[in-house]
């Protein structure tokens, strides 16, 4: 899959955390590619490893308890896992930027907005503050913050949640990154504000030609904003394909379950479809297919209980990790 026009290629990434009960396998054998100017979505529930994947790319995994055990992360064909911390600093924040879920906790409450954006610009682009401040103002204008000149001198607590997320985005794109990692960027926001922020990301993607790695649990957001999708479950990618394909032809029972269990707007339902059971914890994943305990076929199937299916190409460019990805219907 490693073509020349890939911006970021993650190959067989595994990240473990050491705990008293042994290593917690947060991410195992994850591979995907992001092309320039595309939006790649990583979907999954809490604890499935999607954020750890993002932090691994940024090399922000807390040390020493967390470690990347194997794999490669090729950014423009260079393995960034081999870089020294000094070299990584040139890439982090500059070529690959990240925005987080909680805009409240990711801004420093004791500095003004302007100071914080100018600091990022000064650090990465070697500008002094006289040069950086006008650029910070320009960035605020770019993310459509009204009255940017005045906002520069305000503190984070004076801004609403949506505004704060705009500031985070301004800071992230101030160095014109080619990849923006957005980790649940709208989860803490109201629906109407969510729509605004997603529109803003779309607009910036067009004008700056950057790729976005969108991490979310909301399939609605994925449907409307992503080009390609990978669904993660219990540390692994279980299905990967184009966005249209995922919604029209989901192959993995977990994806199907997720799509069916949401209450649908405008449809009167007596009961909701559910996925039985709970999300497994990284310290005691079930044997075989990790989804078999919750799966309508896997729970009774010997092979699912003992052997773990690998991600394979079921139809062109549609990957799924399920023994029954082809003949699921016939067996039911």
């Amino acid at each position: 899959m490693a073509e020349n026009n890939t911006l970021l290629s993650v190959r067989n990434l595994s990240t473990f955390f050491d705990t008293e009960q042994g290593p917690a396998k947060a991410v195992q054998d994850v591979s995907f590619d992001i092309k320039p100017a595309e939006t790649f979505a990583l979907v999954g529930e809490s604890g499935c490893g999607k954020s750890v994947t993002a932090l691994s790319i940024m090399q922000l995994i807390p040390h020493p308890q967390g470690r990347i055990v194997s794999g490669k992360i090729l950014f423009r064909n260079h393995n960034i896992l081999e870089l020294t911390e000094r070299q990584m600093r040139v890439i982090r924040g500059n070529k690959i930027a990240m925005i987080f879920q909680e805009p409240m906790t990711s801004l420093n409450p004791v500095f003004t907005i302007g100071f914080q954006i100018a600091e990022a610009i000064g650090l990465h682009q070697r500008k002094n503050s006289a040069q950086a401040w006008p650029m910070a103002e320009e960035m605020l204008e770019k993310v459509h913050i009204p009255d940017p000149e005045r906002r520069l001198y305000e503190y984070p607590h004076q801004l609403s949640g949506g505004m704060r997320q705009r500031v985070m985005i301004a800071m992230a794109i101030s160095c014109k990154p080619s990849l923006l990692i957005a980790d649940e960027p709208t989860t803490a926001l109201d629906v109407t504000i969510q729509a605004q922020i997603l529109d803003l990301l779309d607009e910036l993607q067009q004008s700056e030609k950057m790729s976005i790695l969108l991490i979310t649990h909301d399939l609605g957001v994925v449907a409307q904003r992503a080009d390609n999708v990978a669904v993660m479950y219990a540390s692994k990618i279980v299905e990967q394909c184009s966005c249209g394909e995922l919604f029209n032809n989901p192959l993995h029972p977990y994806t199907q379950g997720l799509l069916n269990s949401r209450p649908q707007l405008g449809v009167k339902q007596k009961r909701l479809n559910t996925i039985a059971g709970n999300v497994p914890e990284p310290l005691n994943f079930p044997s075989g297919c990790k989804f078999h305990t919750r799966c309508p076929i896997g729970c009774n199937d010997k092979r699912c209980q003992t052997a773990e299916p690998q991600l394979r190409e079921v139809s062109p460019n549609h990957f799924a990790a399920c023994w029954y990805a082809e003949g699921y219907d016939k067996l039911l």
């Binding site: 529109d199 779309d202 209450p263 559910t274 709970n278």
Partner: protein
């Protein structure tokens, strides 16, 4: 709606918080968190209260449960106004109103076992003791889909969805008539949300419960509710039967909310009709609270407050343009 069947009736309820400034902490204004809302819930129904953060839905619910003092208004529970009641009289009512909270991680005491968490309301109201108490807890745990063997475990041993089940068991311990569910599923994973929603529906049927269900997720509210009210900056702007509201929303704010939900249909959304940002409850203008964000508001709207009026049978909305 006939009055005999009404379990909860809220009339002109207001909860204002003073804004204090200066050395002498003089009151300079009020945040009108809940500003003159009225509605009623027939017994056995689910009343959904929807709105964005800061719209006052949680404050309204807490005022009804007498956890926050009301500024004005009346709350009739079972035909009796509970706002003027003294603490001692309130205790009897407290048995009939319980709450399920949003965050199952912070609403369970980490140092208490599941058994003692659920036993607490039963002990406080002197309903059961000894082996009868244990028996009741076991039944409750099984009703919410857990097992009686969990009784001596601690909250940290459970996942988010299981904790929310424990919260529900605690709320049901006193066999309440009204259960206030304050965003009971918004902290849970998608696959767990549907389990909890189904459970709430099953329990409602089994114990003929009445729910006041608060959420910001319109699709969740549609699934569970019979009647839905949309709140905006402390006021109810639209109220109707769930099916009517979702099929034919009248208020521009309801329309805005419905259009902003990302639908799981794979099509790249064009940068949508720009949605104006929210304003805070402290800085409302003289007219319609929604005026600043309304696509159809005019000069008249900016000066006059639209009353909540019945536009069709059982369908009320507060908008001049409908």
């Amino acid at each position: 709606m006939n009055d005999n069947n009404t379990l909860l009736k809220v009339e002109n309820l207001k909860t204002w918080f003073p804004i204090k400034k200066g050395l002498l902490r003089k009151t300079v204004g009020y945040v009108r968190a809940v500003d003159d809302i009225s509605f009623q819930i027939p017994a056995g129904n689910t009343f959904g209260l929807v709105g964005e953060s800061g719209s006052g839905k949680t404050t309204a619910a807490r005022t009804i449960a007498r956890l926050i003092p009301a500024t004005a208004g009346r709350v009739y529970f079972d035909g009796k106004n509970i706002l003027p009641l003294r603490q001692s009289e309130l205790r009897k009512i407290r048995k009939d109103i319980s709450i399920v909270f949003q965050d199952p991680y912070s609403s369970l005491n980490p140092r208490m076992t599941i058994g003692s968490i659920i036993a607490e309301p039963l002990k406080v109201h002197k309903i059961a003791a000894g082996s009868e108490l244990i028996g009741r807890i076991a039944i409750l745990l099984e009703k919410v889909g857990l097992s009686a063997s969990h009784i001596n475990r601690y909250p940290h041993e459970f996942s988010g969805g299981q904790r929310q089940r424990i919260g529900i068991a605690r709320a049901l311990a006193l066999e309440p008539k009204l259960v206030i569910c304050d965003e009971p599923v918004s902290a849970l994973d998608v696959s767990i949300q549907s389990q909890i929603l189904n459970l709430l529906k099953d329990l409602q049927e089994q114990f003929s419960l009445t729910y006041l269900f608060i959420a910001h997720d319109l699709s969740v509210v549609e699934f569970i509710s019979d009647i839905v009210a949309v709140m905006y900056l402390g006021k109810i702007v639209e109220i109707a039967q769930a099916s009517v509201l979702y099929e034919n929303p009248l208020h521009p704010y309801t329309k805005l909310l419905l259009s902003a939900i990302p639908k799981p249909v794979p099509e790249r959304k064009k940068p949508s009709e720009s949605v104006p940002a929210a304003v805070s409850a402290a800085e409302t203008c003289a007219g319609c609270p929604f005026f600043g964000r309304c696509p159809i508001g005019d000069d008249f709207c900016s000066k006059n407050v639209p009353p909540l009026e019945e536009k069709a049978t059982g369908h009320k909305t507060a908008c001049f343009k409908v």
